[in-house]
Subunit: 149 residues, 2 copies
């Protein structure tokens, strides 16, 4: 499975004119296995537990290279920090205002996909929907504390 993945990735990277280095593979592998939309810092912290170590510059270079190659998406949702996502099929996001987690929302969960007809001449190439609210587990704790009071 990792072998398959490696081959897929290798061919994609190659197509984009990029070498597949250990660092690049480690970053992508981490993103594919962890759909938590981590920041560059989280990725760095996580990868530097184990081999191969990667410097800040390399993390950013790698993330940008992977974005260029279309294997990763850069996501700005809340503040000034970029988050990264290896799920590149069209999908949306839900942000919990209580715990801050950023979860995927499959397009199927959005009942009516928006069709935007802007003024004449505008060309919409992509769109992204960000929903905000309270996630199921935070909702529960909210209710629990309400009952106590």
């Amino acid at each position: 499975m990792t072998t398959e993945l490696r081959l897929q990735v290798e061919s994609r990277m190659h197509a984009a004119g990029l070498k597949l280095t250990p660092q690049r593979f480690a970053v992508l592998d981490y993103l594919i296995r962890n759909h938590i939309h981590p920041t560059a810092d989280q990725i760095t912290a996580r990868l530097n537990n184990r081999f191969p170590r990667a410097s800040r510059a390399t993390i950013y270079n790698t993330l940008h290279a992977l974005c260029e190659a279309g294997l990763v998406r850069e996501l700005y949702v809340d503040g000034a920090v970029a988050r990264y996502d290896a799920l590149i099929e069209t999908h949306h996001h839900f942000v919990c205002r209580a715990c801050g987690t950023l979860e995927d929302v499959q397009p199927a969960a959005v009942r009516a996909v928006p069709r935007c007809n802007l003024d004449e001449g505008y060309c919409v190439e992509s769109y992204q929907l960000v929903m905000r609210g309270v996630c199921a587990s935070c909702k529960q704790s909210e209710n629990r504390s309400k009952n106590l009071s």
Copy 2:
């Protein structure tokens, strides 16, 4: 008209426990008159042509105060820089990848408002749609250069 506005703003600020200072009014007034979703820097540059001058810290304090008071929205669309919006009614945005302008999209222009039915227990409080593409005037120049070649 400015008088009416000032009174409205004053009561809103007061309700939020905040004084309406000349700096605060100037920032809000600028945002209301200019729907260009400016950054803190653009606001600073613009206001410091005329009275009242405002320091960086005050600009940020003011913008945050106005956000708290619900008179202004902070918007992160592309990356690292916050943009500010005095249009607080629900609406969406269009970003031109060529010229970078960020325009309002009235909800009416979105044909089908998304209804999101997430997993049990999730509570969606708001959502925002960001469309990306090419604006009408950039589209024109693109076409013009295509014809030349």
